[in-house]
Subunit: 217 residues, 2 copies
DNA sequence: CCTACCGATCGGTAGG
DNA sequence: CCTACCGATCGGTAGG
Protein backbone atom coordinates (compact mmCIF):
# COMPACT_ATOMS: atom_id res chain seq x y z
CA UNK A 1 0.00 0.00 0.00
CA UNK A 2 1.41 3.38 -0.89
CA UNK A 3 1.10 5.57 2.14
CA UNK A 4 1.27 9.29 1.40
CA UNK A 5 3.89 11.32 3.24
CA UNK A 6 1.59 14.30 3.77
CA UNK A 7 -0.87 13.49 6.50
CA UNK A 8 -4.41 13.10 5.27
CA UNK A 9 -6.83 14.28 7.92
CA UNK A 10 -10.02 12.33 7.78
CA UNK A 11 -10.82 12.88 11.43
CA UNK A 12 -9.84 15.45 14.01
CA UNK A 13 -6.80 14.77 16.17
CA UNK A 14 -8.50 13.12 19.10
CA UNK A 15 -7.27 10.62 21.65
CA UNK A 16 -7.52 6.99 20.66
CA UNK A 17 -10.06 5.44 22.97
CA UNK A 18 -12.36 2.47 23.25
CA UNK A 19 -15.32 2.13 25.64
CA UNK A 20 -14.58 0.97 29.16
CA UNK A 21 -14.19 -2.75 29.54
CA UNK A 22 -13.98 -3.68 25.89
CA UNK A 23 -10.26 -3.26 25.26
CA UNK A 24 -8.71 -6.72 25.38
CA UNK A 25 -5.77 -7.16 27.72
CA UNK A 26 -2.17 -6.92 26.57
CA UNK A 27 -0.97 -6.93 23.00
CA UNK A 28 -4.34 -7.85 21.56
CA UNK A 29 -5.76 -4.64 23.00
CA UNK A 30 -2.87 -2.55 21.77
CA UNK A 31 -3.34 -3.95 18.28
CA UNK A 32 -7.01 -3.04 18.44
CA UNK A 33 -6.25 0.54 19.46
CA UNK A 34 -3.53 0.95 16.83
CA UNK A 35 -5.88 -0.34 14.15
CA UNK A 36 -8.60 2.00 15.39
CA UNK A 37 -6.40 5.05 14.90
CA UNK A 38 -5.16 3.97 11.48
CA UNK A 39 -8.45 2.70 10.09
CA UNK A 40 -10.07 5.97 11.13
CA UNK A 41 -7.36 8.09 9.55
CA UNK A 42 -6.47 6.13 6.40
CA UNK A 43 -9.35 3.73 5.97
CA UNK A 44 -9.21 -0.06 5.98
CA UNK A 45 -7.65 -0.38 2.54
CA UNK A 46 -5.26 2.47 3.19
CA UNK A 47 -3.85 0.76 6.27
CA UNK A 48 -1.27 -2.03 6.06
CA UNK A 49 -0.77 -4.63 8.75
CA UNK A 50 2.87 -3.56 8.86
CA UNK A 51 1.85 -0.05 9.82
CA UNK A 52 -0.44 -1.35 12.56
CA UNK A 53 2.36 -3.57 13.86
CA UNK A 54 4.85 -0.67 13.79
CA UNK A 55 2.53 1.41 15.94
CA UNK A 56 2.29 -1.40 18.48
CA UNK A 57 6.01 -2.08 18.34
CA UNK A 58 5.79 -5.68 17.17
CA UNK A 59 6.63 -7.54 14.00
CA UNK A 60 3.83 -7.69 11.48
CA UNK A 61 3.74 -11.47 11.62
CA UNK A 62 3.03 -11.32 15.34
CA UNK A 63 -0.32 -9.72 14.60
CA UNK A 64 -1.53 -13.12 13.42
CA UNK A 65 -0.86 -14.61 16.84
CA UNK A 66 -3.70 -12.38 18.10
CA UNK A 67 -6.08 -11.98 15.17
CA UNK A 68 -6.93 -14.28 12.27
CA UNK A 69 -6.76 -11.53 9.68
CA UNK A 70 -6.66 -7.82 9.06
CA UNK A 71 -10.40 -7.94 8.43
CA UNK A 72 -11.11 -9.56 11.77
CA UNK A 73 -9.51 -6.64 13.56
CA UNK A 74 -11.94 -4.38 11.72
CA UNK A 75 -14.83 -6.69 12.49
CA UNK A 76 -14.12 -6.44 16.21
CA UNK A 77 -13.97 -2.63 16.06
CA UNK A 78 -17.20 -2.38 14.08
CA UNK A 79 -18.93 -4.71 16.49
CA UNK A 80 -17.71 -2.79 19.55
CA UNK A 81 -18.83 0.49 18.00
CA UNK A 82 -22.32 -0.70 17.17
CA UNK A 83 -22.68 -2.43 20.52
CA UNK A 84 -21.75 0.73 22.42
CA UNK A 85 -24.15 2.84 20.38
CA UNK A 86 -26.97 0.38 20.82
CA UNK A 87 -26.49 -0.05 24.56
CA UNK A 88 -26.29 3.64 25.25
CA UNK A 89 -29.36 4.41 23.18
CA UNK A 90 -31.29 1.64 24.90
CA UNK A 91 -30.21 2.86 28.33
CA UNK A 92 -31.13 6.45 27.46
CA UNK A 93 -34.61 5.72 26.22
CA UNK A 94 -35.16 3.17 28.99
CA UNK A 95 -34.32 5.74 31.65
CA UNK A 96 -37.18 8.01 30.61
CA UNK A 97 -40.60 6.74 31.72
CA UNK A 98 -43.27 6.69 29.03
CA UNK A 99 -45.25 9.04 31.21
CA UNK A 100 -42.67 11.76 30.60
CA UNK A 101 -43.68 11.85 26.97
CA UNK A 102 -42.06 11.21 23.61
CA UNK A 103 -40.30 14.57 23.59
CA UNK A 104 -38.30 13.71 26.68
CA UNK A 105 -37.46 10.33 25.21
CA UNK A 106 -36.40 11.80 21.88
CA UNK A 107 -34.17 14.33 23.62
CA UNK A 108 -32.57 11.56 25.67
CA UNK A 109 -32.04 9.46 22.56
CA UNK A 110 -30.36 12.28 20.65
CA UNK A 111 -28.22 13.26 23.62
CA UNK A 112 -27.01 9.68 23.86
CA UNK A 113 -26.47 9.44 20.12
CA UNK A 114 -24.34 12.56 20.05
CA UNK A 115 -22.68 11.45 23.26
CA UNK A 116 -21.32 8.27 21.71
CA UNK A 117 -19.99 10.21 18.74
CA UNK A 118 -18.15 12.77 20.85
CA UNK A 119 -16.87 10.21 23.35
CA UNK A 120 -15.54 7.85 20.65
CA UNK A 121 -15.24 9.78 17.39
CA UNK A 122 -12.58 7.48 15.94
CA UNK A 123 -14.63 4.41 16.71
CA UNK A 124 -17.73 6.04 15.24
CA UNK A 125 -15.91 6.92 12.01
CA UNK A 126 -14.60 3.38 11.60
CA UNK A 127 -17.96 1.90 12.55
CA UNK A 128 -19.85 4.01 10.04
CA UNK A 129 -17.37 4.44 7.19
CA UNK A 130 -15.54 1.12 7.07
CA UNK A 131 -18.38 -1.31 7.58
CA UNK A 132 -18.50 -1.80 3.82
CA UNK A 133 -15.07 -3.45 3.91
CA UNK A 134 -16.44 -6.36 5.93
CA UNK A 135 -17.72 -9.55 4.36
CA UNK A 136 -21.49 -10.03 4.73
CA UNK A 137 -20.93 -12.59 7.50
CA UNK A 138 -18.74 -10.23 9.47
CA UNK A 139 -21.06 -7.28 8.90
CA UNK A 140 -24.31 -9.02 9.77
CA UNK A 141 -24.26 -8.70 13.59
CA UNK A 142 -23.44 -5.00 13.36
CA UNK A 143 -26.19 -4.44 10.82
CA UNK A 144 -28.67 -6.00 13.23
CA UNK A 145 -27.62 -3.65 16.02
CA UNK A 146 -27.88 -0.75 13.59
CA UNK A 147 -31.41 -1.73 12.64
CA UNK A 148 -32.34 -1.91 16.32
CA UNK A 149 -30.98 1.61 16.89
CA UNK A 150 -33.01 2.88 13.98
CA UNK A 151 -36.12 1.21 15.34
CA UNK A 152 -35.72 2.91 18.71
CA UNK A 153 -35.69 6.30 17.04
CA UNK A 154 -38.60 5.48 14.74
CA UNK A 155 -40.64 4.13 17.67
CA UNK A 156 -40.20 7.27 19.73
CA UNK A 157 -41.09 9.47 16.78
CA UNK A 158 -44.14 7.36 15.94
CA UNK A 159 -45.34 7.43 19.51
CA UNK A 160 -44.97 11.20 19.64
CA UNK A 161 -47.01 11.58 16.47
CA UNK A 162 -49.70 9.23 17.76
CA UNK A 163 -49.94 11.12 21.03
CA UNK A 164 -50.12 14.47 19.23
CA UNK A 165 -46.82 15.59 20.71
CA UNK A 166 -45.02 15.52 17.35
CA UNK A 167 -45.96 16.33 13.77
CA UNK A 168 -43.65 15.37 10.94
CA UNK A 169 -44.03 15.50 7.16
CA UNK A 170 -42.56 11.99 6.96
CA UNK A 171 -41.57 9.67 9.77
CA UNK A 172 -38.72 7.85 8.05
CA UNK A 173 -37.17 10.96 6.56
CA UNK A 174 -37.32 12.75 9.90
CA UNK A 175 -35.58 9.83 11.60
CA UNK A 176 -32.99 9.67 8.83
CA UNK A 177 -32.26 13.37 9.13
CA UNK A 178 -31.88 13.18 12.91
CA UNK A 179 -29.58 10.19 12.57
CA UNK A 180 -27.45 11.94 9.96
CA UNK A 181 -26.94 14.96 12.18
CA UNK A 182 -25.58 12.87 15.00
CA UNK A 183 -23.35 10.58 12.95
CA UNK A 184 -21.73 13.53 11.24
CA UNK A 185 -20.48 14.92 14.55
CA UNK A 186 -17.77 12.26 14.71
CA UNK A 187 -16.18 13.73 11.59
CA UNK A 188 -15.45 17.14 13.03
CA UNK A 189 -15.58 16.85 16.80
CA UNK A 190 -12.22 17.35 18.48
CA UNK A 191 -10.15 19.62 20.67
CA UNK A 192 -9.49 22.03 17.79
CA UNK A 193 -13.02 23.44 17.77
CA UNK A 194 -14.88 25.51 20.33
CA UNK A 195 -17.83 23.26 21.17
CA UNK A 196 -17.95 20.87 24.06
CA UNK A 197 -19.62 17.50 23.80
CA UNK A 198 -22.39 18.37 26.24
CA UNK A 199 -23.17 21.57 24.41
CA UNK A 200 -23.45 19.80 21.06
CA UNK A 201 -25.62 17.07 22.56
CA UNK A 202 -27.95 19.61 24.15
CA UNK A 203 -28.20 21.73 21.02
CA UNK A 204 -28.79 18.76 18.75
CA UNK A 205 -31.48 17.45 21.07
CA UNK A 206 -33.20 20.80 20.70
CA UNK A 207 -32.85 20.71 16.91
CA UNK A 208 -34.22 17.16 16.81
CA UNK A 209 -37.28 18.24 18.76
CA UNK A 210 -37.82 20.97 16.21
CA UNK A 211 -37.54 18.45 13.38
CA UNK A 212 -40.12 16.35 15.18
CA UNK A 213 -42.40 19.36 15.34
CA UNK A 214 -42.56 19.29 19.13
CA UNK A 215 -44.59 22.15 20.56
CA UNK A 216 -42.15 22.92 23.36
CA UNK A 217 -38.87 24.62 22.55
CA UNK B 1 -4.86 -4.40 -3.79
CA UNK B 2 -6.85 -7.36 -2.62
CA UNK B 3 -10.32 -6.93 -3.99
CA UNK B 4 -12.98 -8.90 -2.14
CA UNK B 5 -15.15 -11.24 -4.19
CA UNK B 6 -18.31 -10.39 -2.28
CA UNK B 7 -19.53 -7.00 -3.42
CA UNK B 8 -19.22 -4.37 -0.73
CA UNK B 9 -22.06 -1.88 -1.03
CA UNK B 10 -20.95 1.52 0.06
CA UNK B 11 -23.51 3.29 -2.10
CA UNK B 12 -26.83 2.32 -3.64
CA UNK B 13 -26.82 0.89 -7.15
CA UNK B 14 -27.36 4.08 -9.10
CA UNK B 15 -26.40 5.04 -12.63
CA UNK B 16 -22.92 6.44 -13.08
CA UNK B 17 -23.34 10.05 -14.08
CA UNK B 18 -21.47 13.31 -14.16
CA UNK B 19 -23.00 16.78 -14.54
CA UNK B 20 -23.76 17.96 -18.06
CA UNK B 21 -20.82 19.34 -19.94
CA UNK B 22 -18.08 18.23 -17.58
CA UNK B 23 -17.39 14.75 -18.92
CA UNK B 24 -14.28 14.98 -21.10
CA UNK B 25 -14.60 13.59 -24.63
CA UNK B 26 -13.52 10.09 -25.57
CA UNK B 27 -11.42 7.78 -23.47
CA UNK B 28 -10.52 10.42 -20.93
CA UNK B 29 -14.20 10.79 -20.10
CA UNK B 30 -14.74 7.04 -19.90
CA UNK B 31 -11.83 6.75 -17.51
CA UNK B 32 -13.36 9.45 -15.33
CA UNK B 33 -16.71 7.67 -15.20
CA UNK B 34 -15.15 4.29 -14.50
CA UNK B 35 -13.10 5.79 -11.67
CA UNK B 36 -16.21 7.51 -10.31
CA UNK B 37 -18.05 4.22 -9.99
CA UNK B 38 -15.11 2.39 -8.42
CA UNK B 39 -13.95 5.15 -6.08
CA UNK B 40 -17.52 5.49 -4.83
CA UNK B 41 -17.91 1.76 -4.26
CA UNK B 42 -14.47 0.70 -3.06
CA UNK B 43 -12.78 3.95 -2.09
CA UNK B 44 -9.62 5.43 -3.56
CA UNK B 45 -7.25 3.02 -1.86
CA UNK B 46 -9.50 0.06 -2.59
CA UNK B 47 -9.45 0.75 -6.31
CA UNK B 48 -6.55 -0.28 -8.55
CA UNK B 49 -5.72 1.40 -11.83
CA UNK B 50 -6.01 -2.03 -13.46
CA UNK B 51 -9.60 -2.32 -12.35
CA UNK B 52 -10.40 1.14 -13.71
CA UNK B 53 -8.75 0.23 -17.00
CA UNK B 54 -10.63 -3.07 -17.20
CA UNK B 55 -13.91 -1.25 -16.84
CA UNK B 56 -12.98 1.09 -19.68
CA UNK B 57 -11.65 -1.75 -21.81
CA UNK B 58 -8.09 -0.50 -22.12
CA UNK B 59 -4.71 -1.57 -20.82
CA UNK B 60 -3.79 -0.12 -17.46
CA UNK B 61 -0.74 1.60 -18.94
CA UNK B 62 -2.96 3.51 -21.34
CA UNK B 63 -4.52 5.32 -18.40
CA UNK B 64 -1.33 7.34 -18.12
CA UNK B 65 -1.77 8.69 -21.63
CA UNK B 66 -4.81 10.54 -20.28
CA UNK B 67 -4.03 11.27 -16.64
CA UNK B 68 -0.78 11.88 -14.83
CA UNK B 69 -1.65 9.63 -11.92
CA UNK B 70 -4.37 7.74 -10.13
CA UNK B 71 -4.62 10.66 -7.73
CA UNK B 72 -5.18 13.15 -10.50
CA UNK B 73 -8.26 11.25 -11.63
CA UNK B 74 -9.61 11.62 -8.09
CA UNK B 75 -8.64 15.29 -8.00
CA UNK B 76 -10.70 15.95 -11.13
CA UNK B 77 -13.74 14.16 -9.70
CA UNK B 78 -13.51 15.99 -6.38
CA UNK B 79 -13.19 19.31 -8.16
CA UNK B 80 -16.16 18.61 -10.43
CA UNK B 81 -18.26 17.57 -7.46
CA UNK B 82 -17.50 20.65 -5.40
CA UNK B 83 -17.90 22.92 -8.41
CA UNK B 84 -21.34 21.50 -9.19
CA UNK B 85 -22.47 21.84 -5.58
CA UNK B 86 -21.19 25.40 -5.33
CA UNK B 87 -22.73 26.56 -8.60
CA UNK B 88 -26.12 25.08 -7.87
CA UNK B 89 -26.23 26.52 -4.37
CA UNK B 90 -25.21 29.94 -5.69
CA UNK B 91 -27.83 29.78 -8.43
CA UNK B 92 -30.51 28.71 -5.98
CA UNK B 93 -29.92 31.44 -3.45
CA UNK B 94 -29.36 34.00 -6.22
CA UNK B 95 -32.74 33.20 -7.75
CA UNK B 96 -34.61 34.22 -4.61
CA UNK B 97 -34.78 37.99 -4.09
CA UNK B 98 -33.81 39.23 -0.64
CA UNK B 99 -37.30 40.70 -0.39
CA UNK B 100 -38.76 37.19 -0.30
CA UNK B 101 -37.09 36.63 3.05
CA UNK B 102 -34.49 34.33 4.52
CA UNK B 103 -36.93 31.43 4.85
CA UNK B 104 -37.47 31.29 1.09
CA UNK B 105 -33.72 31.46 0.54
CA UNK B 106 -32.99 28.74 3.06
CA UNK B 107 -35.60 26.48 1.49
CA UNK B 108 -34.08 27.07 -1.96
CA UNK B 109 -30.60 26.37 -0.63
CA UNK B 110 -31.59 23.08 0.99
CA UNK B 111 -33.58 21.98 -2.07
CA UNK B 112 -30.51 22.60 -4.21
CA UNK B 113 -28.24 20.87 -1.71
CA UNK B 114 -30.38 17.76 -1.65
CA UNK B 115 -30.83 18.05 -5.42
CA UNK B 116 -27.13 17.69 -6.11
CA UNK B 117 -26.92 14.68 -3.82
CA UNK B 118 -29.80 12.84 -5.45
CA UNK B 119 -28.76 13.78 -8.99
CA UNK B 120 -25.14 12.69 -8.51
CA UNK B 121 -24.95 10.43 -5.47
CA UNK B 122 -21.78 8.67 -6.59
CA UNK B 123 -20.03 11.95 -7.23
CA UNK B 124 -21.18 13.28 -3.88
CA UNK B 125 -19.86 10.23 -2.04
CA UNK B 126 -16.47 10.49 -3.73
CA UNK B 127 -16.38 14.24 -3.22
CA UNK B 128 -17.16 13.98 0.47
CA UNK B 129 -15.53 10.71 1.49
CA UNK B 130 -12.39 10.56 -0.61
CA UNK B 131 -11.16 14.13 -0.40
CA UNK B 132 -8.79 13.06 2.36
CA UNK B 133 -6.82 10.95 -0.13
CA UNK B 134 -5.75 14.06 -2.03
CA UNK B 135 -2.52 15.91 -1.34
CA UNK B 136 -3.03 19.36 0.20
CA UNK B 137 -2.29 21.00 -3.15
CA UNK B 138 -4.88 18.91 -4.94
CA UNK B 139 -7.45 19.36 -2.18
CA UNK B 140 -7.08 23.12 -1.76
CA UNK B 141 -9.37 24.33 -4.60
CA UNK B 142 -12.14 22.00 -3.48
CA UNK B 143 -11.79 23.11 0.12
CA UNK B 144 -12.24 26.71 -0.98
CA UNK B 145 -15.46 25.86 -2.79
CA UNK B 146 -16.61 23.96 0.27
CA UNK B 147 -15.96 26.96 2.50
CA UNK B 148 -17.94 29.14 0.11
CA UNK B 149 -20.89 26.74 0.27
CA UNK B 150 -20.80 26.82 4.03
CA UNK B 151 -20.70 30.59 4.01
CA UNK B 152 -23.83 30.78 1.85
CA UNK B 153 -25.74 28.70 4.36
CA UNK B 154 -24.40 30.61 7.35
CA UNK B 155 -25.21 33.95 5.71
CA UNK B 156 -28.82 33.02 5.04
CA UNK B 157 -29.25 31.74 8.58
CA UNK B 158 -27.64 34.84 10.08
CA UNK B 159 -29.81 37.13 8.02
CA UNK B 160 -32.94 35.28 9.10
CA UNK B 161 -31.95 35.63 12.73
CA UNK B 162 -31.19 39.33 12.32
CA UNK B 163 -34.54 39.94 10.64
CA UNK B 164 -36.38 38.01 13.32
CA UNK B 165 -37.47 35.33 10.87
CA UNK B 166 -35.30 32.65 12.46
CA UNK B 167 -34.26 31.76 15.99
CA UNK B 168 -31.53 29.22 16.58
CA UNK B 169 -29.71 28.06 19.70
CA UNK B 170 -26.43 28.26 17.79
CA UNK B 171 -25.80 29.46 14.27
CA UNK B 172 -22.85 27.24 13.40
CA UNK B 173 -24.35 24.09 14.86
CA UNK B 174 -27.63 24.69 13.06
CA UNK B 175 -25.77 25.10 9.76
CA UNK B 176 -23.69 22.01 10.45
CA UNK B 177 -26.77 19.95 11.20
CA UNK B 178 -28.54 21.10 8.04
CA UNK B 179 -25.46 20.35 5.98
CA UNK B 180 -25.11 16.88 7.48
CA UNK B 181 -28.70 16.00 6.63
CA UNK B 182 -28.19 16.78 2.97
CA UNK B 183 -24.79 15.17 2.53
CA UNK B 184 -26.02 11.96 4.07
CA UNK B 185 -28.69 11.54 1.40
CA UNK B 186 -26.06 10.49 -1.15
CA UNK B 187 -25.33 7.41 0.93
CA UNK B 188 -28.76 5.87 0.69
CA UNK B 189 -30.55 7.48 -2.22
CA UNK B 190 -31.20 5.13 -5.10
CA UNK B 191 -33.87 3.26 -7.04
CA UNK B 192 -34.20 0.64 -4.31
CA UNK B 193 -36.03 2.93 -1.91
CA UNK B 194 -39.45 4.54 -2.10
CA UNK B 195 -38.58 8.24 -2.01
CA UNK B 196 -38.15 10.43 -5.05
CA UNK B 197 -35.53 13.14 -5.19
CA UNK B 198 -38.09 15.97 -5.27
CA UNK B 199 -39.90 14.57 -2.28
CA UNK B 200 -36.73 14.32 -0.22
CA UNK B 201 -35.67 17.82 -1.23
CA UNK B 202 -39.04 19.28 -0.28
CA UNK B 203 -39.20 17.42 3.03
CA UNK B 204 -35.66 18.33 4.00
CA UNK B 205 -36.32 21.98 3.15
CA UNK B 206 -39.21 21.84 5.60
CA UNK B 207 -37.06 20.19 8.26
CA UNK B 208 -34.33 22.79 7.76
CA UNK B 209 -36.84 25.59 8.29
CA UNK B 210 -37.84 23.92 11.53
CA UNK B 211 -34.22 23.73 12.62
CA UNK B 212 -33.92 27.43 11.83
CA UNK B 213 -36.93 28.10 14.02
CA UNK B 214 -38.90 29.66 11.18
CA UNK B 215 -42.38 30.69 12.21
CA UNK B 216 -44.05 29.41 9.03
CA UNK B 217 -44.40 25.67 8.52
C1' DC C 1 -3.11 2.44 -27.32
C1' DC C 2 -0.18 -1.94 -26.15
C1' DT C 3 3.69 -5.21 -24.53
C1' DA C 4 6.82 -5.83 -21.25
C1' DC C 5 8.60 -4.65 -17.26
C1' DC C 6 10.33 -1.95 -12.80
C1' DG C 7 10.93 -1.90 -7.57
C1' DA C 8 7.94 -1.72 -3.72
C1' DT C 9 4.56 -3.35 -0.92
C1' DC C 10 0.68 -6.13 0.02
C1' DG C 11 -1.77 -9.89 3.37
C1' DG C 12 -0.44 -13.91 5.11
C1' DT C 13 2.36 -18.42 6.37
C1' DA C 14 6.16 -21.77 7.95
C1' DG C 15 8.85 -22.81 11.40
C1' DG C 16 10.84 -21.97 15.41
C1' DC D 1 7.08 -12.92 19.57
C1' DC D 2 10.64 -13.10 15.56
C1' DT D 3 13.18 -14.34 11.05
C1' DA D 4 12.54 -15.46 6.66
C1' DC D 5 9.79 -15.95 3.11
C1' DC D 6 5.54 -16.81 -0.20
C1' DG D 7 2.86 -15.42 -4.51
C1' DA D 8 0.10 -11.61 -5.81
C1' DT D 9 -0.64 -7.11 -6.75
C1' DC D 10 0.42 -2.36 -6.44
C1' DG D 11 1.29 2.48 -9.14
C1' DG D 12 3.95 3.74 -12.65
C1' DT D 13 7.54 3.76 -16.74
C1' DA D 14 10.18 2.61 -21.20
C1' DG D 15 9.71 2.09 -25.65
C1' DG D 16 7.28 1.57 -29.41
Amino acid sequence: MDVPDWEPRRVAAVAVALPDGVTPAGTRGRILEAALALYAELGFYGTSIRRIADRVGINSATLYAHYQSKEQVLAELVQVGHRELHDRLAAAVGAVPDADGAAAQLAALVRAHVGVHVDYPLLAVVTNSELHALSPEHAAPALELRAACRRMLLDVLARGVKDGEFAVPDLVLAATAIGAMGMHVAQWFGPDQPYGGEQIAETYACLALRIAGAAAR
